[in-house]
């Protein structure tokens, strides 16, 4: 690890300027990505990254500077640059005369699996080879790959006024996908999602929890079933979404619209705005009374657990939507302070996060979960006379207000007269966030819940890709507009 926890605090405070606030967020991260494609090991890729972000508040001016030069001279240069930006923006910032108040965090966090043993390189490749080899069960299978991505991150946040918070994480992301082709038709089935879904904090334990062993054979069998399946029908159907599609539904049509910096307009040039406005909190009926959504940085193993966000705010579980009513946004301290000028009753959560040391924090969704209900999976299926089950996201598109959407899944299955029936390929559905969640008719019990996530939530200028977690039960929605693919 390239920074010394004992010395860097003293070195930083020696050169920190006399301003309203100054912090140093130092991060180092080691990751390794392994892949076996078509039974051939691809090059092992390791990354060792480190650097620090300086934040300076001077009046209503806010400035940042990031550098991987952590020497005394490097820290001094970064601090001077951040101070320069703070002074340049003073009097011209969105804070309009009110200096953003930032905390001095004190504490620590260690994720699951920090002390667990790791697979050796040869053990990891052997595991991937086993799953890859199990995929090749038919000549119609034209591509397949098994992957393992592991990361160890350590972050120290220091403030000039004595704050010090050390957080340490291990992340493990296994993945696998299989593609089959016949007579002009191609289908891909992935385990956990082509863009990674079984993301959790932890080490080797994640592999066991996710059921990676045996995933190759199961996924290969499923892609052949898809290849032989009819196209998804079009029409209005009751829809049963499994957790690995609920994850995407939550992410796009609850998570992004509730980001407070979007609501304040920061993201309008790129990621977009939101159909949610500041006056909706506390009264707006976001979904049916069955809808309960939490920001939960404490859920065991979930991908975006932490004790402090990257502004230093202490994180705790909060309801964002309770019994269908919108309660609070995904907004960190800085956004909350800005929003209170328009709506004094706005609360938020500790979710200002940066993708790494080289980006400043912005409002993200972190762990955003739908709380389980009371209906068993069997009862959900039994209650549907004419419907569809959809699983595993493969396509997502939503307008810049995060309202009108069209999503597609890898796996579809008809439900007829309360029973699961034939598999269908290319299942898609469309809706409008503002009304879709009001059609939520059943929420699965805890047995249907899966703790999932993605490493690839993108937003911000300059762009930032962060890890987010989504735990969800299976859920049903009534009267959804469904369609397939047609040539």
């Amino acid at each position: 690890m390239p920074f010394d926890i004992e010395s860097i605090g003293a070195r930083f405070r020696r050169v920190a300027p006399a301003v309203d606030f100054c912090s140093l967020r130092v991060l180092d991260e080691t990751s390794q990505f392994l892949c076996v494609r078509q039974d051939v090991a691809e090059p092992a890729q390791t990354s060792r990254d480190f650097g620090a972000m300086v934040t300076v508040v001077d009046g209503d001016g806010l400035g940042y500077a990031a550098s991987s030069d952590l020497s005394d001279a490097g820290l001094s240069t970064a601090i001077a640059r951040a101070l320069q930006w703070a002074r340049l923006s003073r009097g011209r910032s969105v804070f309009e005369g009110q200096a953003p108040a930032l905390p001095a965090p004190r504490g620590s966090y260690r994720s699951a699996g920090i002390a667990a043993s790791s697979l050796s390189l040869s053990e990891a490749f052997a595991l991937l080879q086993r799953e890859s080899g199990a995929c090749r069960v038919d000549d119609q299978i034209v591509d397949w790959a098994a992957q393992l991505w592991t990361t160890h991150t350590r972050q120290l946040m220091l403030t000039a006024d004595g704050g010090e918070a050390l957080q340490e994480w291990r992340f493990t992301v296994p993945g696998l996908h299989v593609t089959a082709h016949h007579a002009g038709l191609t289908q891909t089935r992935s385990w956990g999602g082509r863009h990674n879904g079984f993301c959790q904090q932890g080490g080797i334990d994640v592999l066991a929890r996710s059921g990676f062993a045996g995933a190759g054979a199961r996924t290969a069998d499923e892609v052949l079933r898809l290849l032989a399946a009819p196209n998804c029908p079009a029409g209005k159907f009751d829809l049963l979404l499994m957790p690995d599609q609920m994850m995407l539904q939550i992410h796009e049509s609850i998570g992004h619209p509730l980001e407070l910096d979007r609501i304040l307009g920061d993201e309008r040039n790129y990621a977009g705005t939101s159909f949610v406005t500041l006056d909706m909190f506390g009264t707006y009926q976001y979904g049916s009374p069955l809808l309960n959504v939490t920001f939960d940085p404490t859920r065991e193993f979930e991908f975006a657990n932490f004790a402090f966000d990257d502004d230093g705010a202490q994180a705790r579980r909060e309801y964002l939507i309770r019994n269908g009513t919108l309660v609070r946004p995904l907004g960190g301290l800085v956004s909350q302070q800005r929003a209170r000028r328009a709506n004094a009753a706005i609360d938020g959560v500790a979710t200002a996060r940066a993708s790494s040391w080289n980006r400043p924090p912005i409002d993200r969704m972190s762990n955003l979960n739908v709380e389980p209900g009371t209906t068993s999976f069997a009862d959900m299926v039994a209650s549907i006379e004419n419907g569809l089950l959809m699983s595993t996201n493969t396509s997502w598109s939503i307008d810049d207000s995060r309202n009108k959407f069209q999503f597609g899944c890898e796996w579809g299955q008809r439900i007829r007269d309360g029973k699961l029936a034939e598999v269908v390929r290319n299942p898609n559905y469309r809706g409008i966030s503002a009304t879709f969640w009001r059609s939520l008719s059943m929420v699965g019990d805890p047995a249907t819940v899966e703790v999932l996530g993605t490493p690839f939530c993108g937003k911000g200028e300059p762009n930032q890709i962060v890890r987010v977690g989504h735990a969800s039960p299976a859920c049903t929605f009534t009267g959804v507009d469904v369609f397939g693919a047609e040539r």
């Binding site: 990354s47 940042y64 550098s67 490097g74 969105v94 040039n269 396509s395 693919a485």
Partner: protein, 400 residues
């Protein structure tokens, strides 16, 4: 940064053992970013970073490590020594790679494009004053970017470009906005002001009444930004030789001559005219251009060294993902100023947003219109339409 990179490379090469071969890639930047919202500063920052990627090859075994550089010679030297030792220790655990391919022919080059970049205070003044109370949101990014390649055969490549990109939207209300950009190598405060003013003039169109469009077929003009969004979707496995070989390309039917686009469609990767380096991570020099679609027919694919070895193709400088970095769609004879009149009756689409494949084998794309999209009648803008656009590449770029 050039001296830092090549100095570390010399050190690494001096430490090679036996038949070991080394590939080294460098990326660095010293970038200023200023974010604006409502014509005020939201976040202002400087990012200084440099990363060195080392690939150690011994026969057919190889491993890669990417290192952050501290800009401190002793720290960086130790990091390189440690990384090489770790790679060397890993190689015996790795299987032979049948698809390893790297350049051993020495092709050194250097490209340095100096510019005049915006300075912090002056640029902030120019933008805030230019907005003159309009609701401006966006980002100014500027600074030098550096890329380098070296190998133990003696090849040395260096690419350093000063550039800036000011990308902003002026908002009328809700989600109605005009998006603009000003990018280049030589910043002019006057030009920035002129472009903001031009965007403000277009804002007036957004005050026109909204028109809710029913699903159906209509004429459409896609402005360059919208076409750009559509064509970048081909970077999701479209022009990739590997994706085509494994039947996963969204233009698979085009590749297999099952269909063709309009004969006006000419798409190529134009490295010579782009900002990306002219060398790849394996040391191969990129061709000046690669034709991908010519006269509406499939003409070529982007082939990485690995794909070339796996499928017996010729590599053409593509990265591992086989994506376009300097995409060029050949122009026709319609002047942008004549577009609305030529459209006559239909929808003028200024930009597209959140495109995704809803049916990848058939190239079917879904997405939304965004920024400056208008309904045109009688060759004049008359309304602001709203609707989704589930369409296919073939429909937009197809015959007729």
């Amino acid at each position: 940064m050039k001296e830092v990179f090549f100095g570390l490379v010399e050190r690494a090469i001096a430490g090679l053992q036996g038949r070991e071969f080394l590939l080294a890639n460098f990326s660095g930047e010293v970038s200023d970013f200023v974010r604006f919202n409502r014509a005020r500063v939201r976040q202002a920052m400087t990012i200084q970073q440099a990363h060195l990627t080392l690939t150690l090859i011994d026969g057919s075994r190889h491993a890669t490590i990417k290192l952050a550089l501290a800009a401190d010679p002793a720290t960086d030297a130790l990091a390189v020594d440690t990384a090489l030792a770790d790679l060397r220790a890993d190689l015996p655990s790795l299987p032979d790679d049948p698809y390893l391919l790297y350049s051993t022919t020495v092709n050194s080059s250097e490209l340095v494009r100096a510019g005049e970049l915006p300075r912090g205070a002056e640029a902030i003044d120019a933008i805030i004053e230019g907005a003159r109370g309009s609701d401006l949101v966006g980002i100014l990014a500027s600074g030098p970017v550096f890329r380098g390649f070296a190998n133990s055969a003696g090849q040395r490549n260096w690419h350093a470009v000063d550039c800036f990109n000011f990308e902003w939207s002026l908002y009328h209300a809700q989600d109605k906005a005009v998006k603009s950009a000003y990018a280049g190598t030589h910043w002019s405060r006057a030009e920035a002001g002129r472009r903001i003013e031009a965007a403000r003039e277009r804002l007036a169109y957004l005050a026109r009444p909204a028109k809710m469009m029913a699903p159906g077929v209509c004429r459409a003009y896609l402005a360059p930004a919208a076409v750009d969004e559509l064509l970048w979707m081909l970077n999701w496995g479209g022009v990739s030789a590997k994706a085509q070989q494994t039947k996963q390309s969204p233009i698979q039917r085009l590749v297999e001559r099952d269909t063709h686009l309009s004969d006006r469609v000419h798409l190529r990767e134009n490295t010579t005219e782009g900002l990306a380096p002219a060398f790849d991570a394996a040391g191969f020099v990129k061709p000046s251009a690669v034709d991908l679609i010519a006269g509406g027919r499939h003409a070529g694919s982007l082939v990485s060294p690995r794909t070339a070895r796996e499928y017996g193709l010729d590599a053409n400088g593509a990265d591992d993902e086989e994506t376009m970095q300097s995409m060029e769609l050949g122009g026709g004879n319609l002047a942008e100023a004549d577009a609305v009149a030529a459209l006559d009756h239909g929808v003028y689409i200024g930009n597209l947003w959140y495109l995704n494949y809803s049916d990848r084998p058939n190239g079917r794309i879904t997405g939304m219109t965004r920024f400056g999209t208008f309904w045109v009648e009688g060759g004049r803008i008359v309304a602001y339409p709203v609707r989704s656009i589930p369409e296919t590449l073939e429909k937009h770029l197809g015959q007729g």
